[in-house]
């Protein structure tokens, strides 16, 4: 629909946020509404800028990488892993297979707890407190497993350059316990999936709303489960060598609605459990850490990986003393949120916040793209296309 037509149809504007009970993190949504039907939406997310990439500039790489973990409290492991992986690739450091397995286990556990957190939040927005609570009850054992594995419930710090931290290593006893914990988790997740996706009231709320077509998903750069729920079979894990030893299915739905995004994540949880089980069962018997390397000058290196929310990208260079130059971290929420601007058009106002939340936005990950032009004294936010082009040109 042309912009002018939409403008004519919009009766009034409803601003949600920056602080709002439906939003876990600060972002501002302007919904343009005609009799409670959204005709246009505008999402602005620039309220939690922390300047993490700037902080990392000039830091020793080992120290700097720990900060990548602080980008997010939910997907902290993947930030650290992908940053570490980028440096290892750039410097040609060999990593033991055992460490790869444990890093994969960490990432999949993180995916499970991230998806369950999403489901808990989605049901909370739906107003279904019981299912929301049930999701958090399912998530609690995952947090316990992560604590058991790494010693922390959040910010696990599993990966270090060359391997993993010794405390995150998995001995035989730990492996047996973890497998037992996974069995009960899988049973709980299956029961929940069976119950939630067959509840007619819930399905009536999430079916056929927030439609994001395959073309729009690609056009606006939706990533991860949001892209796969629109019928695009794309998962970075298929291209990440660490995952090549594991057999798993890529969950793809072609409905493009909130129901599909929810279902996609529910079944990805079961796939993640499958991957963890394989990783535990085939864990190589060797040292999990290679200490035979030197940090020195490194050219521009990049690494891609699949976080819970989609593709994550890290890149940087190191100077001759191993200090970070031009660190870039791009997270999936940025473009997925943009896609949600389109997908809430035509739906009820109450559904809009659910639709936006259905892309599982993570603002602490994303809010690092405000540009402050000191010379001209102005501040502006870059769109996804500008970000992509500037990333290619290495201007940020």
């Amino acid at each position: 629909m042309a912009d002018t037509d939409r403008k004519d149809r919009a009766e009034y504007e409803v601003p949600l946020g920056i602080v709002h009970s439906a939003l876990l993190e600060p972002f501002r949504t302007r919904l343009f509404v005609d009799d409670e039907t959204v005709v246009d939406a505008e999402i602005t997310y620039d309220s939690a800028h922390r300047g993490i990439e700037r902080i990392m500039e000039g830091m020793p790489v080992q120290k700097g990488l720990i900060i990548t973990e602080r980008i997010c409290g939910i997907c902290s492991h993947i930030h650290l892993w992908n940053g570490t992986r980028m440096v290892e690739q750039g410097l040609g450091i060999e990593v033991p297979q055992r460490a790869h397995h444990i890093r994969v286990i960490g990432n999949e556990l993180e995916r499970i707890h991230s998806h369950l957190l999403f489901l808990g939040h989605a049901f909370e927005i739906l107003g279904h407190e019981t299912f929301s609570m049930r999701c958090f009850m399912l998530r609690e054992p995952v947090q316990n497993i992560l604590f058991f594995l790494s010693g922390n419930r959040v910010h696990y710090t599993i990966s270090v350059i060359g391997g993993i931290r010794p405390r995150a290593d998995i001995d035989k006893e730990k492996r047996r316990t973890l497998l037992g914990m996974l069995n009960s988790l899988e049973e709980g997740c299956k029961n929940f999936a069976n119950r939630a996706l067959k509840d007619s009231l819930i399905v009536s709320r999430i079916k056929e709303i927030g439609y994001l077509s395959k073309d729009d998903a690609v056009k606006y750069g939706a990533l991860g489960p949001n892209l796969r729920a629109s019928g695009v079979c794309e998962d970075v894990r298929t291209r990440v060598s660490e995952y090549s030893n594991f057999d798993f299915d890529i969950i793809v739905y072609d409905g493009g609605a909130v129901l599909d995004r929810v279902a996609c994540r529910v079944f990805e949880v079961l796939e993640s459990i499958k991957i963890i089980r394989q990783a535990l069962e085939t864990l190589p018997d060797e040292e999990p850490m290679n200490v035979d390397f030197e940090i020195g000058e490194m050219g521009f290196s990049t690494s891609y990986n699949e976080a819970a929310r989609g593709e994550i990208y890290d890149s940087c260079a190191l100077d001759e003393s191993g200090r970070i130059k031009n660190y870039i971290n791009r997270t999936p929420s940025m473009s997925s949120i943009s896609a949600m601007e389109v997908s809430c058009i035509g739906d009820h106002l109450t559904d809009a916040s659910l639709i936006i939340a259905s892309c599982d936005p993570c603002l602490t990950c994303t809010n690092r793209i405000t540009v402050v032009d000191e010379n001209k004294g102005r501040e502006y936010v870059l769109g996804p296309d500008e970000i992509r082009s500037m990333t290619r040109r290495r201007r940020i």
Binding site: D3, R6, K7, A10, E11, Y12, E13, V14, P15, L16, V19, H20, S21, A22, R28, R30, F32, V33, E36, D40, E42, T44, F123, E124, I125, L126, G127, H128, E129, T130, M133, R134, M137, L201, I202, S204, R205, H348, L349, T350, D351, A352, S353, L354, Y380
Partner: protein
């Protein structure tokens, strides 16, 4: 009319309703918590201690064009509910010809309308009253009229009044059709209630309407309407947290919030009490009948708690067909009653 009994009933029936109603939210929250495998709050916490707590909070001036009227709406709601329970009291039978279902329906309608007044008298700071216009650079639609959450809730309240609560009114009139009278006491007497010789043993000899086919169908319709009147899940779109947060009651704080809590919990009890009077034939009265009345009046809050624990908030896409379905059920109840 027996004047001493009339005066005593006028004072004590609302007082008992008030005391019992402070337990109702706690019972509901406890049931929901148990369903969610939580311990839940102490039973008196949400309905009594929370109200007391709000009374001692700092008083905040609401953003409202008519703050005094805005503050007094919960009080009006409470008084309306007291009137409703008095109209179902045997001592009030025949007073000014008010003790009919028509008067009852009228007062409930006024109670529903209060939310529209509330919303129109409130302008919270979260939307239109921003200190500067938030016109993001590059926006397609600059300078659109911004509507605050309360005004959106008012539209929703209006839709609920016109469509949502229809099953409740059908549920009110099914007993009238069965009993052949719109008099509340006539309906109770039709089911075998006699104020003078009411005993617990005699209660077993009554013929409550809910045990008949039209009565049962009407009770289901009444229950759906009860959820709508209370804005309880799944019909809580008027104050859903996903967009309008608290809706019309957003600006109520401290004493006013306490007043709103009281209005809500008294509505919970009184509407349930009306149900017991019409469908079990036991009105609220100052004798032994009050005990079974109070116990039976807990049925609807308990069912509401269970229903809301297993329901999401429904949008009008679901509310309209659901309401239509329950209304159809109410009409079937009326038809069966006529037959």
């Amino acid at each position: 009319m027996n004047w001493p009994d009339f005066v005593l009933a006028t004072i004590f029936v609302p007082l008992i309703a008030f005391i019992v109603s402070t337990w109702v939210p706690g019972i509901m929250r406890k049931i929901q918590a148990r369903i969610q495998q939580r311990i839940g709050p102490p039973v008196l916490m949400p309905g009594f201690w929370a109200v007391l707590k709000f009374m001692y909070k700092e008083r905040i001036k609401p953003v409202s064009p008519l703050p005094r009227l805005f503050h007094s709406i919960p009080l009006i709601g409470i008084v309306l509910m007291f009137f409703i329970i008095l109209l179902t009291n045997p001592e009030w039978d025949g007073v000014l010809g008010l003790t009919t279902l028509v008067a009852l329906a009228g007062l409930i309608k006024v109670e529903e309308t209060l939310y529209i007044v509330m919303g129109n008298l409130s302008d919270n700071i979260m939307s239109v009253r921003m200190p500067y216009p938030d016109l993001v650079s590059g926006s397609v639609m600059k300078a659109k009229v911004r509507r605050n959450f309360e005004k959106i809730s008012v539209t929703r309240a209006f839709k609920l009044i016109t469509v949502g609560s229809f099953p409740l009114y059908l549920g009110l009139f099914v007993p009238a059709v069965v009993a052949g009278s719109i008099g509340i006491m006539s309906i109770a007497k039709y089911q075998g209630f006699e104020i003078a010789d009411f005993t617990l043993r005699g209660m077993y000899e009554m013929n409550p309407l809910i045990l008949t086919v039209p009565g049962f169908i009407g009770a289901i319709a009444y229950f759906a309407g009860y959820l709508v009147i209370l804005n309880e899940y799944p019909f809580s779109i008027m104050h859903t947290k996903a967009d309008v947060i608290e809706g019309p009651t957003m600006e109520y704080a401290s004493v006013s919030r306490a007043g709103y809590y009281l209005m809500r919990e008294i509505t919970m009890f009184v509407m349930s009490s009306v149900f017991v009077t019409l469908y079990f034939g036991i009105p609220p009265t100052l004798n032994l009948a009050m005990v079974p009345h109070i116990i039976l009046a807990m049925i609807l809050p308990v069912l509401a708690a269970i229903a809301s624990a297993f329901s999401p908030v429904l949008t009008f896409r679901q509310v309209y067909p659901l309401s239509l379905g329950f209304s159809a059920l109410g009409v079937i109840g009326v038809i069966v009653a006529i037959l």
